[in-house]
Symmetry: C2
Subunit: 195 residues, 2 copies
Amino acid sequence: MARLGLTPQRLAAEGAELADEVGFDRVTASALAQRCGVKVASLYAHIRSTQDLKVRIALFALNELADRAAEAVAGRAGKDALVALGNVYRDYAREHPGRYAASQLRLDSATAAASAGPRHSQLARAVLRGYHLGEPEQTHAVRLLGSVFHGFASLDLGGAFSHSVPDSEESWSWTLDALDALLSSQSPSNRRPPH
Amino acid sequence: MARLGLTPQRLAAEGAELADEVGFDRVTASALAQRCGVKVASLYAHIRSTQDLKVRIALFALNELADRAAEAVAGRAGKDALVALGNVYRDYAREHPGRYAASQLRLDSATAAASAGPRHSQLARAVLRGYHLGEPEQTHAVRLLGSVFHGFASLDLGGAFSHSVPDSEESWSWTLDALDALLSSQSPSNRRPPH
DNA sequence: TATTTTTCCTAAAGACTTTAGGCAAAGTCA
DNA sequence: TGACTTTGCCTAAAGTCTTTAGGAAAAATA
């Protein structure tokens, strides 16, 4: 009965660790309680349900990922920014597979709107400033970036590219080059920004 | 005790239906048994475990998806083939969200190798024949296509593009145009194939 | 200090998974 | 056809996870 001072935030963070260790789909209230040195029922003072816990982990991961993305994009522009942003997603999926899986959890629209999701779009928009796109091209490009980054990270994480030549790494560089070329050619001026 | 003639294949198909109705993560042996008009324990004559059931549903979905992709690509070339292939994935995710989620289930490498996964790569390669890429560009392009198709379908399904202007549909057309342009520019001849 | 709130606990009910053992239907073979 | 084996379904039961209810002690508040 020594009180441990658990909070929903702390539980989300511990849950994120647990997800990385055993997989997001195996995060249970039982396992988390054990990890925190507490009985299962005690968790229900802090979370409403296991689903609620999973949502909190998802929000935690989305936020952490947005923080990293913001850090990577700051002070960079053009292709540098594009590569830095892409690497954040790819590296996060590799370093924190459980959190990455959590970040893909389906959220209801109110929760999604209050999540760090919009920050991710904003960061993609910031990167695209270097390519001088108008609307609606910029929005399309935001979605393309999201699709490629998420799709690549997801397939890479799933092992779709492993045990096969060439290296996943090479395809990733090639993909970033291709995206840069594509976005540059979409620019109204149709010129590459200065290196 | 009227015997229903269940088989692992039939259970996978019923499981796929169930996944579309309630979501892949809520597919349980209990629910499937109820749906088949059988007691839970009876399922274990056909499947080893719930995990085994999920794997079978995943394989079912991958196969069905590959069949559709093959059908769409047959008799088409160039951009037509690219668009047709992309639409298969996008439409499948929309029509069969549970099956699409199942198709993303992580499989161990032996199972993955025996799945329809390789057929998907082959179909992407077939589409890319129209762009006359050499190696390793073709492999990179296969991966890019996989990333974009999967990423877009996944985000679209997650509602990331809904309730927002412009329409997801427009971004999809734009994306396919962009991919076509990109692949054409990667071609050694650097010329667009005839329309 | 007295009171209220919070955080932990034990207990218990309900759902899902999985194994064990039994019985009758379906398939096999004289 | 009748005996034998196999198969597919059943009931029963044990284990895990979720969730609620109610109680006791620590922490916060007045």
